[in-house]
């Protein structure tokens, strides 16, 4: 055995190995398939990553576990390689994400089922957004096209809104924690905004993975401020969407849901006022028709009365005519004037003549 070889105690060897690892590979990213996934005592998570030729152990705490994992999923872990005091080499996982469409989908489905079982998507949890908010909070990357679209649409549609924007990453490993901090910040304000909006434009399934992060989904669900989430395109559904109070298909759609369209309101206001004009004209028409009807009724009554009086007058005229002495003479009768006594002269008046005659004889009938 050579004397110049380094000699260590076991503890020293483990320590110097870890120092060397820390210097040479402080953080590594390793991709492999998960096997023997376990959670112990609700605190410790262990699994192995393997490929066709090798296998390596991985450890983390449940606190660091931000996604649901199952054996067979392909993961990329960001980790610190360590040799522990029991001589086992492992990767102390700092972050991890599924790799490949199948694993992303699997991770999403597992976490979705878990949150659904807890009732986080239940319709009765969903709060309504105010029809016209005055103060809103927005979490977005201010450099993103989605944010620009969102601002453009709210400015076109509405005014007088106070918007506080938290600029965060919306993609990549740091994104979920940044968004969680922003959610907590807005929820800690003395005067809460009326709506908390989270927006991000479209991207690949991997780009949108930050919105399938378990702690972020829980932070959105716990927000005291009602939430509106518009992430990706119409076809994309993330867990952040599902736990939110209101889901928007896109950032543009989020802006449309958030504020009414002022042009529509202006149009409606003019339409309502105009409709009152029509109602007024209609009321005047009805009033005129009613008045006309009442006048007609009054005229009809007067006419009836006049006719009634006219009929009575005609009857009276007839009766009076029948009493006229001329009419009696015309019927062949004659008036007799003077004393009806023998030797006296009397006057007899017919319709055409007046005759003076002497009474020759008087006898009783």
């Amino acid at each position: 055995m050579e004397n110049n070889q380094l000699q260590f105690s076991v503890s020293e060897f483990v320590a110097i190995t870890n120092q060397t690892l820390e210097y040479a590979y402080p953080t590594v990213s390793v991709i492999g398939e998960v096997t023997e996934f376990r959670i112990s005592q609700g605190k410790w998570v262990s699994f192995k990553l393997k490929d066709a030729e090798a296998v390596v152990g991985c450890f983390l705490t449940t606190y660091q576990l931000r996604m649901s994992v199952e054996d067979g999923m392909k993961l990329m872990v960001v980790a610190n390689p360590r040799l522990n005091n029991k001589g086992f080499f492992s990767l102390n996982v700092r972050a991890m994400k599924p790799v490949g469409e199948g694993s992303i989908k699997k991770g999403f489905e597992l976490l979705k089922a878990k949150l659904e079982a807890e009732g986080l998507f239940a319709p009765e949890r969903k709060r309504k957004l105010p029809r016209v908010p005055k103060h809103v909070a927005v979490i977005a990357s201010t450099e993103s096209a989605g944010y620009v679209d969102f601002c453009k649409i709210i400015n076109e549609r509405w005014g007088g809104l106070s918007v506080d924007v938290a600029h965060t990453q919306v993609q990549g490993v740091p994104a979920p924690d940044q968004m969680i901090r922003a959610i907590r910040y807005f929820n800690s304000l003395e005067v809460l905004p009326e709506v908390l909006v989270i927006v991000r434009g479209g991207g690949s399934a991997e780009d949108l993975m930050a919105f399938n992060d378990e702690p972020l989904a829980r932070a959105i669900a716990e927000s005291r401020i009602p939430t509106l989430v518009g992430v990706g395109h119409e076809i994309d559904t993330t867990l952040a969407d599902m736990v939110s109070d209101v889901r928007a298909a896109t950032p543009t759609n989020a802006a449309e849901i958030l504020v009414p369209d002022r042009n529509e309101i202006i149009r409606a206001a003019h339409q309502r006022a105009g409709a009152l004009g029509h109602q007024l004209v209609q009321a005047i028409d009805e009033y005129s028709a009613r008045t006309r009807e009442q006048l007609n009724a009054a005229f009809r009554r007067i006419e009836e009365k006049l006719n009634e009086h006219s009929d009575r007058l005609s009857a009276l005229k007839l009766a009076t005519a029948q009493l006229n002495p001329e009419n009696i003479l015309r019927r062949g009768y004659a008036f007799l004037r003077g004393e009806v006594a023998v030797g006296e002269t009397i006057e007899i008046e017919t319709v055409n003549t007046i005759v003076k005659a002497e009474v020759k004889h008087v006898s009783s009938k």
Binding site: C151, G159, A166, H167, I266, A283
Partner: protein, 73 residues
């Protein structure tokens, strides 16, 4: 007297919309009187004009908060 009162000048768009709704409701209610209807109609027209004016001039105030979220406090 102007159809838009001083009170209306000072109220928010929301209040003006509510005022317009009240006028519309009055036209349907038993309180409707032809004698008052013309004034109420003029008031509604003026409100619609005012709502348009207010909504058109309003601008949003968008501010990016200074706080950074990349690290825990």
């Amino acid at each position: 007297m102007s159809a838009v009162s001083k009170k209306t000048e000072d109220t928010s768009v929301q209040q003006q919309l509510a005022e317009l709704s009240d006028l519309v409701a009055w036209f349907q209610s038993p309180e409707f009187k032809l004698e008052d209807a013309f004034d109420k109609f003029k008031q509604a027209e003026a409100l619609a004009e005012h709502i348009e004016k207010d909504l058109t001039k309003l601008k949003n105030d968008i501010k990016v908060v200074k706080k950074k979220f990349d690290t825990e406090d």
